[in-house]
Symmetry: C2
Subunit: 224 residues, 2 copies
Amino acid sequence: MSDADLPLSATPRTGLRRMKEKGHSDRSALFDVLRASFVCHLGVLVDGYPMVVPTVYGFDDKHLYLHGSVASRSLTTGAEVCATVTVVDGLVLARSVFEHGVNYRSAMVYGLPRWVTDPDEKLHGLRTLTEHVAPGQWDYARQPNRKELAATALLALPLTEASVKTRSGPPDDGDSPDAERGNWAGELPLIARWQQPLADPALPATVPVPAHVAARAGARVDEP
Amino acid sequence: MSDADLPLSATPRTGLRRMKEKGHSDRSALFDVLRASFVCHLGVLVDGYPMVVPTVYGFDDKHLYLHGSVASRSLTTGAEVCATVTVVDGLVLARSVFEHGVNYRSAMVYGLPRWVTDPDEKLHGLRTLTEHVAPGQWDYARQPNRKELAATALLALPLTEASVKTRSGPPDDGDSPDAERGNWAGELPLIARWQQPLADPALPATVPVPAHVAARAGARVDEP
């Protein structure tokens, strides 16, 4: 049994809190959510207060790799963090306001992050992150030199304690007395798509858009 | 001078940490970001650890109103929170991996939240939240009855301490030696749009989609 097959640990804080939504405890559900986005919200403790910063991530079987520059001045060494990835799939428009909600996929990863200092792991982590956010760019753009590598703050968060929650489908009041009201109910889906690339105005007009960038235009973020 | 004209308070934690990005200290910049999304990531302290949960919000001049059910079992009374709203506008694809980045708009609101218990404020807050997330639904759907109002957890977070950060435009290495490499550089924009509404399968086919829902299809989330 490989690491990737291990179920996620069940701890009090990864327990489900809302019953109507589905909880998942398998690693494939976690990776499904991680694949569907590239920005997480990292919760850190700063002087005893929670601070939530958006930052890009990538991942392999064992770690979430986070761009740590926003956290570098604030992250207390040895303090646990929570990284949350959320994909909003649409609104749930019910017969009653009370039953309104959101269709979403969300993963929360808890743990003790580690600053990546080993040069090989740093290169691996940065490549993993870059290729997750912008596939094809690691080999196309100039890779980091030694000075840039040293100046890049990379966090590794073990993928061992996590919870995944999702909600999908129509509202829940289709068989309630409110169904007699006769008003419309359903879902208003939301989809984020990459648009046509915009060339840097400083770029000579003769430089073509590379295929790996051009191919993304029109694609959904949550599709491979 | 109304409350809405007051500059945001400058505290150590709302200070800018990254110089390349723009910081804003006026309230209109805050409201611009709050208008452009409807889901925030709420950071709370649970047993001494940060937990980050996605939740819907609405706002008026003075408060961010948050749906508090996900936080209701975990939020420590009297503990400060951080609510972060992020709109991702696209990727910044530079000549070097080191200069890659994200175009985004983000607001972080810090403060001591308060459970809304006054029935009038609760109705106001829920209406504000509902109309922000799903304009037109408050009057179209059945409004909460007394029992439902009592069962709804609503948090109010004062809009007094906040920071706004944004990044936009092309990469920063257009005048660097890397520009001589000749590779393409620019932006890959990302836009989230509402799709065609999907009727609840439990709904009779004769019920029309109301105009306020149909009108959103194709619209950007960050447009009014």
